[in-house]
């Protein structure tokens, strides 16, 4: 059913969510994302990830990423128009702040993380009960995929930077399409556009311009447990985001353009552009574990 395409293009690159920023004990953080990607072969991808973070202690935080996705490929002489929709694999991971330097109005942190992708999606979606849909339209990997990495960042009231590297080890499923393991690195730098000068009192809203680069390297794909040759890929993208932050929420809008896309096969699907919108909300979780009176 058409050219097999690797996983990397379908996995949109959000503004670096794997951050080392602190999450307070018993704090909940919810981030709603909307991402769209346009590619060659009339590809359209829409994703609605919801990221949830919870502060277990001052150093431990746990995260879960739930995702719904839609993808469609245009018709060609070799195939009809194809599409799929559904829940993608869910990511859960824990993060531990192993090193931090806190100073007035700035912080530097390093935090390793580990978890797994849980197979909530489907890696064996078929076209009308026939052949498998291309990999880019599959919504899962079919296996529990170990996931680990490290994130770090420096932030202050005028600028900041962040970087992370993660590895998703995808075991081979006996049935369906198994995407190859994925190595990913993100780098980000941000500057504060507003306020240029902090007010003497109070907490101002902030407007931040963020530039981000995303590097992804995919290993070989397997189909029904058999290696699919010429299925690796390397992608480098860059993104620009504008973010408005307040005490309780943050909203951001961004655009993505690929810098480099290297695949084994020349007719591989390639991303052309992407757009992002996100809303992040902070709230207190029930604090029965730590509630106390100082009276």
């Amino acid at each position: 059913m058409g050219a097999l395409v690797a996983w990397g293009v379908a996995q949109a690159s959000p503004a670096t969510f794997v951050t080392a920023l602190p999450v307070a004990t018993d704090q909940l953080l919810v981030r709603f994302n909307f991402q769209s990607i346009l590619g060659t072969q009339d590809f359209l991808g829409l994703q609605m990830p919801v990221n949830v973070g919870y502060g277990l202690t001052s150093r431990w935080a746990i995260f879960a990423n739930f995702n719904q996705a839609y993808g469609s490929l245009g018709a060609t002489t070799a195939r009809p128009e194809l599409s799929s929709w559904g829940a993608q694999d869910t990511t859960v991971f824990a993060r531990y702040t192993i090193f931090k330097v806190d100073r007035p109005r700035s912080t530097f942190r390093i935090a390793p993380l580990a978890g797994a992708f849980l197979p909530w999606g489907d890696n064996a979606l078929r076209y009308k009960g026939g052949p498998y849909l291309p990999g880019i339209l599959q919504t899962g990997s079919g296996t529990v995929d170990p996931y680990f990495g490290v994130t770090m960042g420096f932030n202050s009231t005028s600028w900041g930077w962040a970087a992370d590297t993660t590895y998703r080890a995808n075991p081979v499923a006996s049935q369906g399409i198994s995407p190859g393991s994925e190595l990913r690195s993100d780098g980000q730098i941000e500057i504060w556009l507003y306020p240029r000068h902090l007010p003497e009192e109070g907490l101002p809203k902030t407007v931040v311009l963020s530039y981000e680069m995303n590097y992804t390297k995919d290993s070989d794909t397997y189909i029904d447990g058999t290696l699919a040759p010429l299925s690796t890929g390397t992608v480098l993208k860059h993104d620009l985001f504008l973010e408005l932050g307040t005490l309780r929420w943050q909203i951001g809008v961004g655009a993505q353009v690929p810098l480099m896309q290297s695949f084994d096969t020349p007719n591989h699907l390639r991303e052309r552009a992407g757009a992002f919108l996100f809303f992040e909300y902070y709230l207190s979780a029930p604090d029965w574990r730590h509630r106390r009176s100082n009276t």
Binding site: A24, T25, S58, R103, L203, T246, L247, D287, N294
Partner: protein, 137 residues
Amino acid sequence: MSAAGRMALVLLVALAVRTAAGEEVWRTRAVAKLYGVYSPRGFFNIVVRLKCLESAEWVKLDLKRAQITVDFEPGEEVSKEDLARVQHEAGYRPGPVELFRVTGETVDHSAPGWMRLKSPPPKKTAQRVRMARRQRG
């Protein structure tokens, strides 16, 4: 009652009233320097933990000074360790904390940055009503 007696009674009542008026309600005010907090999101981390201090009633968030000012419910005591724990549990290295007692005129929550942490629980409200009744005599 003689004129002198009436005069003495008036003076005693006046003295009693002044004494009652002079017993102004005091609050504990804590000023904590923050380390590592650089954004509104960081201040929210602090606010989340402050809400767990039951008597914390008002907080003033100052980004430029990198500090918070916390006013507690009238008559409530807190320790520096309480404020240090708030910062630690919010994920930050605790900064220095200073404690003061403030009274009526110095308690103004209308300046930029002040926010009320929560409505007082019913038990505290009842305490406050009893305290107000005692002050009214």
